[in-house]
């Protein structure tokens, strides 16, 4: 039992170490062995497949928030503030987290299975033998693509969600666009925007690092790849939720609580 725990701990430490190694290797590759075609290809795969689900997620999250807040705020006669409430909760929390979780579900599993198949099928070795650095060819483009695309997708989700909040407010609370928008404007403070941009960057790194690490460390044939794939999504999701709290805390601490 104890031995099993210590083995697991050592394995986790190794995974973290490997994730850091891949990250540093990717940063190095951006400057020394940049592969534009692969980056663009990965961005395309990631973006094209994700815009739809992210927009849909944003829309319904925004409408749900709008609905609940309209009802609650009306009790205090404060439904004119709906825009601010929705904006703050979406930009600071729901937008980045939901987008990252959706993308993790799609992309992290995709990375892990693709790279896992390449690993166990010796395609990674084939690359090395041809003198091609697998980190530069496989990992860097994936990491960079999420790093660029996740903030973009998050802003999209935020925007759609704010509009969704208005739909709910208009239907349930008979709110006008100008009232709603004025309140949204109040919500767009520096703190919120900074937090809203820092989070996707951190989450993107988690998704890229976890996906690539799980894939390249998978062992034991196709079953191993399957295991790595599901575990990658779970690990990434949990890390996203934990780091969401930490980043939120740090940003508020650094920029003031108000």
């Amino acid at each position: 039992m104890l031995a099993a725990i210590s083995h697991q701990a050592r394995h986790t430490l190794f995974e973290i170490q490997y994730g850091v190694h891949l990250t540093l290797g990717s940063v190095w590759a951006v400057f020394t062995d940049f592969r534009r075609r692969d980056v663009v290809e990965q961005m395309d795969i990631l973006g094209a497949g994700s815009f739809g689900i992210v927009a849909l997620t944003g829309l319904f999250a925004g409408m749900a928030m709008g609905l609940q807040f309209t009802v609650e705020l009306s009790v205090y006669g404060a439904k004119d503030y709906l825009g601010k409430m929705v904006t703050v909760s979406i930009i600071r929390e729901l937008g980045p987290v939901l987008t990252a979780l959706m993308v993790a579900g799609r992309v992290c599993s995709g990375m892990a299975s693709e790279l896992g198949v390449m690993k166990v099928g010796r395609q990674v070795d084939a690359l090395k033998v041809m003198g091609i650095n697998p980190v530069a060819k496989l990992v860097m483009p994936r990491m960079l693509a999420v790093l660029i695309m996740l903030p973009v997708l998050t802003v999209l989700a935020d925007a759609v969600a704010v509009v969704g909040g208005y739909f709910a407010g208009a239907v349930v609370g008979k709110l006008s666009w100008s009232t709603y928008w004025a309140a949204v404007d109040q919500g767009l403070t520096v703190q919120n925007l900074v937090g809203g941009v820092v989070k996707p960057v951190v989450f993107a790194w988690i998704i890229g690092a976890v996906g690539c690490t799980s894939g390249l460390l998978s062992e034991g044939g196709t079953r191993g790849v399957g295991r790595a794939t599901t575990q990658a999504v779970v690990k990434a999701s949990i890390l996203i939720l934990i780091s969401n709290f930490i980043v939120g805390f740090v940003v508020l601490k650094m920029l003031g609580w108000a």
Binding site: V117, R122, Q123, D125, K128, V129, M130, G131, I132
Partner: protein, 240 residues
């Protein structure tokens, strides 16, 4: 010339896989590496490619020890090697043609036409001229190995060819086709080759010498004929 000198290797879990392996493959000759599965054949293969570092011993490729080499230097050595991995290791997101041209595209300055011509030539050579635009997933096992041979030979003219179980999982007729191809490749080009196999018949078809592996040790080395004539009990069981 390839020479292994007292190579010892263990993976991270510290069970020793290769024990004092010493082997020599002269230029323009073919060695068949025989042995039960799990005896360490692929491990030796990956040591030769520099993918694994042995804990002790030397691995000489044309008198240069590759064990201490860094990745950059290794790449130069590997350029002289054509490698066919177990099951081919084709990139399955690319077409057959792209697989064969992959190395050229990444490492050489060639025009599209030149590249296409060389790919066509390579695929014709292995008898798969028509398969250029197919995906690896659509190929049979034997076709995958043949594409892997074409890919291994495409970019740089290799002086050394390495095959890891090129015939396993194939029907006897297809396996013979692959062996004929290997034979053709190594005689026409005077290549130094190592072919891992557990089919004795392959060894007879392609190899000048055979080495029989047992539990990470070279158990026997000699010509295929002398292997057959040996009265050692394990060898008898292996060749039976």
């Amino acid at each position: 010339m390839i020479r292994f000198e007292q190579v010892n290797f263990s993976y991270e879990d510290e069970t020793q896989i290769l024990h004092d392996v010493t082997l020599q493959i002269p230029n323009c000759s073919t060695l068949a590496l025989l042995g039960a599965s799990g005896s360490g054949k692929s491990t030796l293969f990956h040591v030769l490619l520099g993918l694994l570092k042995p804990q002790s011993g030397r691995v000489l490729v044309d008198d240069m020890d590759i064990v201490p080499l860094k990745e950059r230097k290794l790449t130069e050595v590997r350029r002289r090697m054509g490698v066919v991995f177990q099951d081919g290791a084709l990139f399955d997101s690319l077409t057959v043609g792209e697989n064969v041209s992959f190395h050229m595209r990444e490492c050489m300055d060639l025009s599209e036409e030149e590249m296409e011509a060389r790919v066509q030539e390579g695929l014709d050579y292995v008898g798969l001229g028509h398969a250029m635009d197919m995906m690896p997933g659509e190929l049979s096992g034997g076709m995958r190995r043949r594409v892997a041979v074409a890919r291994a030979m495409a970019a740089f003219q290799p002086a050394i060819m390495l095959y890891d179980e090129p015939t396993s999982g194939l029907d006897p007729i297809t396996a013979d086709t692959i062996c004929d191809l290997i034979r053709k490749v190594s005689t026409e080009e005077c290549l130094t080759s190592i072919i891992i196999t557990h089919r004795l018949k392959d060894a007879f078809k392609v190899a000048d010498r055979v080495a029989l592996f047992k539990d990470g040790r070279v158990y026997y080395e000699g010509t295929p004929e002398s292997l057959m004539d040996s009265d050692d009990e394990y060898i008898q069981r292996f060749v039976a």
